[in-house]
Structure formats: C-alpha cells, structure tokens
C-alpha cells in the first residue's frame, strides 16, 4: 500500500510524464494522432487483403476491433523495453518511485488507445454495428490496462538485467498474436476443440479481453463464464506478478544502467 501512496504523492510527476510521452509521440503536430492510427489501419488493410485472397471469411468490424485492441498491448510490449533503460540518466541521477516510468508509458498509450477507440466506434456505427453491450466497456478496459501494465512492469525491469530480451520478445509477441482471436473469431476456433481445451485457450488473458470487446462493440457471443473468469483472473494476476517482481528488482536499477 506504501507503493500506492508513493504514486499518489507523485501524481504530478506521473501526469507530466504521461503528457510528455504523448507530446513526444505527436511531436506537437496536428496530424500526430492520425499518424498513430496509421499502423493499425495498415495492419487491417493487409490482413483483410490477405485473408480475402486466401478465401477466409473476413468480417471487417471484427477484424478492426481485434487489431485496435491488440495494438494497445503491442505498443506497451514494445515501449516497455525502453521505459527504464531509455531513462538511464534519470534513474541514475534522481530518486523517485521507478514504477512511475512504465506506468506513465502504459497510461500514455492508454490515452492514445481510448482516442482511437472513439474512431473505431464511429466507424462501427457507420458500418451498421449498434455497439450493443457498452456496459462491459469499463470492466474490460480496466482488465486490459491491468494486463498491459503488468506485462510492461515485467519487461521493463527484466530488460535492465537481460538486454537480449528484445530478440526473444519479437518471437513471443508473434506467438501471442496468433494465440489470440485477432484475425480470426472465436467461432472458428470453437468448432475444432473440445470444451476442456476451449477453457485452457482462455488462460491466454487476451483471448477473453478481445472477445469481450467484440461482445461490447459488435455483439459477438460471449464464451462461458468459467473461460471468461479465467482470462480476467490471469490478467490481474499478471499485474500482481509484475508489481512484485518490479519492486524486487528496482533497487538495483541504478547500478545496472
């Protein structure tokens, strides 16, 4: 709880770092935010084209939701490598709760993600989706955030000690991407596995998270309660593990940078 107090006490720093991260990403340009849409939009275009050519069923609203939701996690995964290592000077020279650095990174990305969700919402409304179950949004966004922060804490602290994490991460990110229903939908998986396997599939927290976003925005069916509870529980457990490991490692950051 001391940690929460520390963060609350240094909320001004957290706020400034979030604004700084956003400002640098947008580089003070009016088109800045639109640039951040470019990556997910091009991914959507590529997958839509590719899946179409391969004669897979393409349901654009499902794909758009999946890619944008995935993109938030992917941004955090990539940025977290530099959240501590990229601020070596600061960590070595100034005393402040180190957890603020990855937290500010994840929250700046969240701001970006929420803004892009508005764009997605507008698109979905035009595409005829009725945004049927928006009541789910707070819970799923919070869980999504918890997972992203947890993973960011793990990666940002481990990267201080193991600088070759980067190479491993790109492989793991790809595996995680395909283990998550981003470019395919749940029904396509459901038909091929038994019920037991489907529950195990939801041990991947992103499986549950993407599915709930699709339920909320496009009206896709929800999986069973057990599967969903498993996904969400794992996401929050990752957060706890991230905080514990980060706090264990952070006293030694300054001497390893």
């Amino acid at each position: 709880m001391g940690l929460c107090n520390d963060i609350v006490r240094r909320r001004e720093l957290l706020g400034m770092l979030i604004r700084r991260n956003l400002k640098i990403r947008y580089k003070n340009s009016a088109l800045g935010f639109l640039w951040t849409l470019l990556a997910p939009l091009s991914l959507i275009a590529i997958y839509a084209l590719f899946l179409g050519l391969m004669r897979f069923p393409v349901r654009l609203p499902m794909l758009v939701t999946g890619i944008f939701v995935w993109q938030y996690l992917a941004m955090c995964l990539g940025d977290s490598l530099h959240a501590i290592v990229g601020h070596g000077n600061l960590v070595k020279k100034a005393a402040f709760p180190r957890i603020i650095l990855p937290l500010a990174m994840a929250l700046a990305n969240l701001t970006n993600f929420l803004l892009s969700l508005i764009v997605v919402g507008v698109y979905l409304a035009f595409a005829g989706a009725s945004l049927p179950h928006l009541g789910w949004m707070p819970a799923v966004v919070l869980t999504h955030l918890a997972l992203s922060v947890g993973v960011s804490l793990l990666l940002s602290s481990l990267n201080v000690f193991f600088r070759d994490l980067e190479h491993l991460l790109s492989v793991l990110t790809m595996a995680w991407f395909f283990a998550t229903p981003v470019i395919y939908s749940l029904e396509e998986v459901a038909g091929r596995f038994g019920a037991g396997w489907m529950t195990a599939y939801f041990a991947n927290p992103m499986a549950g998270i993407v599915t709930v976003y699709r339920h909320a925005l496009v009206g896709a069916p929800l999986p069973g309660g057990t599967a969903l509870a498993l996904s969400f529980a794992v996401a929050w457990m990752v957060l706890v593990a991230g905080v514990v490991i980060f706090q264990r490692l952070q006293p030694r950051f300054a001497e390893h940078l």
Binding site: E12, I24, L90, K92, A94, D164, P251, E255
Partner: protein, 411 residues
C-alpha cells in the same frame, strides 16, 4: 553549529557492486551461468563501513581520487542507489546537482523541462510557477525558454540545470564536481549562490577535485580512499593529510633502490632549523639532513650525492660532495654525513629527495635510493615555476615613497 540537529546520518554503510563481463548480462549468459557449478563473479566494494553525520547548516566537502567512492556516496544520499549494508537517514528535501539536466528531454522546450525537472524532484507545480521567473533569470536564458533544449549549447543546458537545482530551495544540496563547468562568470555566480545558501543555514555536500575551492567553501572535509574514510575534520588539516597521502603514493611509484651495497645508506633524517625531525618545511627555511651509512668493507674516496625532484619526478636540483670539493678519503663501518641546505626556495608542493653513494670515478654505484624521501613545502610567496630565484625590482626615476621594496610578484 555543534548544537544543530543532524540532517544526514550515515551509519556503517557499505556498498558492493557486482562486476560483470563487458556488455552486461544476457539471458543467454544467465542460462549458461546456471549450468556452471562455479559462477565467476567479482565484487567491488565501492564503500566500506562509512559512518559520519552532517549537522544542519554545515558544508561538507568530499575529496578523494577517482574511484574513491565519492559519487557512490552522493548517489546513496540522493536515494538513487541503496546501500548493501548499513543505514542512511536524511531529513528534509534533498536536491542534487548530480542531476544537472538529467531529467531534461531534448524534444521538450526549456520551459517544459523546468517543470518536468521540478516534478522529478518532487516540487509542487505551484511552487515551480512561483520560482519560474527566478530560474530563467539565474540561468540567463530569457528568450530561449520556448525552444527545445536540443538546440541549446552544453553551457546553456548546464546553466538551466543548475538554476533549477538551486532555485527549488532544498534543505540539502548535493553538488558533484560542478565547480568545473560553465564559463568563469557563471562559476562566480554559482559560488556566490552557494555562499548565500550557506549563510541561510542550508546544508551542502560538495565533491570537487579543486582543493583550493573546496577548502574555501567547506566547514569540514571528508577524505575517502578506496571506499574508506581516511580523514574527517577541519579543511586545512584534511587537505594537508590528503596531499601528504598522495605524496607517499606518488613516491611509491618513482621509488627505486639499487647498487652494489658495499656502502649502504641506512637512514636519513630531515631536521628543521631547531634540530627537530620534520617532513614539512616553510619556504626559505634552512634544512639539515643527516645521512647515516654503513661501509661493509673499506672504501676509498666515496662520493655522497643528493637530488630533489618534484612530484612528477622532474629533477629540480642535484649535487654531490665531489662537486662541492669535499673529499672523504676512506670510510669503514657506520658513519654519518651531514648535508645543510641554506634556504629551501621552492614553490608550494611535494618534493622527493634521492641520495646516493658512488665511487669517485662514477663507475660503481654503491647504493642509490631514488625518490625515497618525500617532503612538503609550504609557500605563501607568490611566484611562478617550482624554484624561487631571489630578486629585487627597481624602477629608476620613480619616487621611492609609494613603493614597498620587493613586494611585487616576481613574474
């Protein structure tokens, strides 16, 4: 100041660094390490069992060679590193010039960076807004504050960093070797600000290699070597100790002993005018040196010589009994040769004496002790170079009344 409360308490603090292979650890090397029975790990103790207290209003200077542990100590006090063992207590806010511009981001403007730096140090934004004008004024950067700091010169960068650190008005200010940055005018401004800080009863810890500057600003000096406290006390005393320490260290490197040992110089005593043993002399003082020898076999016409070198090993002066027309016909067994130096006209610093005994024709060196005997010379007479030549200035035609004889520097 004795009655002031302690602001900083350091109790038997040690800090260990684990030295790793160059390039840092990787997952691969960690995995390989786990397979090996014996992990090869080297430890470096940057600080060992350090204890001291700093009272409110005190200015503590920290001196020591590179690698003595000075910066590690400040990092522990600033809280960026944790001690391996021991305890550190700091009361009040601490601002450190270690972080001169450390939190600055090149893409943000000067103004944004000032507020960010304040937030990093934990200063409320409200206070930063009050201080903002003073910060810009002190740094002398009006008109540049809305530019990204990547367009700043390194001097502007440091000035802004210093301005933020002193203007946030901390209780304790940590200063790591900043007396060496910026131009002369800015340095004067910094020293002035530090003096003001001191008068207002704030506490400062300063690291510098500039011994004269640190002696001038400190109430007390801490002398570190290889992570241990070698001295802690009154500035002039500790600086004298520090200089003597380095004289000994340096003379270790230049020391050499060789010869046939037919005659051995067994002991050399340095004495001041009153005949007391002494290693520290004032400028112009007379020195008596007693050279004890032992001739292990009878030796005809030996020559005793001496040389004075500065701390870098450059010869200042050398002479021997032969040059001065003193002849020792035959020596055997123990004996003493006395050397008197009329006046030690040397600049302030450390010097190394060498003594030798060799044959009349210089063919055989019986015993030579090169740079074995360090002494120190204190000199408040201003002149340049290492050796003073007595001089007298005269200006023909000028009325003698306004001129103090020989008072001008001889440069």
């Amino acid at each position: 100041m004795i009655n002031e409360p302690c602001v900083i308490t350091v109790e038997s603090v040690s800090k260990r660094f684990r030295l790793r292979a160059p390039g840092g650890q990787t997952l691969k090397s960690a995995a390989l390490d786990m397979l090996r029975a014996h992990r090869k790990r080297e430890d470096l103790w940057a600080l060992r069992d350090i204890s001291f207290r700093v009272r409110a209003g005190e200015t503590l200077g920290i001196i020591g060679a590179n690698g003595a542990g000075k910066s590690t100590l400040l990092a522990l006090l600033a809280g960026t590193m944790q001690p391996t063992t021991g305890r550190i207590q700091v009361r009040g806010t601490i601002s450190s010039l270690l972080e001169l511009g450390a939190g600055f981001h090149p893409d943000l403007t000067g103004r944004e960076n000032v507020f960010l730096a304040g937030a990093i140090m934990g200063i409320p934004q409200r206070r930063m807004r009050e201080r903002y004008a003073a910060i810009v004024d002190f740094a002398g950067l009006e008109g540049f504050m809305d530019q990204p700091v990547k367009h700043y010169s390194s001097g502007m960068y440091i000035r802004l960093g210093f301005a933020v650190a002193v203007e946030v008005d901390p209780d304790v200010l940590l200063i790591d070797e900043v007396l060496a940055v910026g131009d002369a005018a800015f340095q004067r401004k910094c020293l002035q600000r530090m003096g003001e800080f001191r008068r207002r009863g704030k506490t400062m810890l300063i690291i510098s290699h500039d011994l004269a500057a640190i002696q001038a600003v400190s109430h007390r000096i801490l002398f570190l070597d290889h992570g241990r406290i070698m001295g802690d006390g009154e500035p002039s005393e500790i600086i004298g100790q520090y200089e003597a320490f380095w004289r000994r260290q340096n003379s270790q490197d230049l020391r050499r002993e060789w010869g046939t040992k037919d005659v051995v110089i067994t002991r050399v005593e340095f004495m001041d005018q009153s005949g007391r043993p002494c290693e520290r002399f004032d400028w112009g003082e007379a020195v008596t040196i007693r050279i004890h020898y032992e001739a292990r076999r009878p030796v005809e016409n030996p020559v005793f010589g001496f040389a004075v070198c500065d701390e870098q090993g450059r010869l200042v002066h050398g002479n021997n009994t032969q040059n001065e027309g003193v002849r020792l016909a035959r020596i055997e067994g123990p004996g003493v040769v006395v050397l008197r130096l009329g006046s030690l006209d040397l600049a302030r610093g450390g010097y190394l004496f060498s003594f030798s005994v060799h044959s009349w024709d210089h063919r055989v060196n019986y015993h030579r002790l090169d740079n074995h005997f360090p002494i120190a010379v204190d000199c408040d007479k201003p002149f340049e170079g290492c050796c003073y030549i007595p001089c007298e200035w005269a200006v023909p035609g000028l009325h003698p009344g306004g001129q103090e004889k020989g008072a001008g520097p001889c440069t």
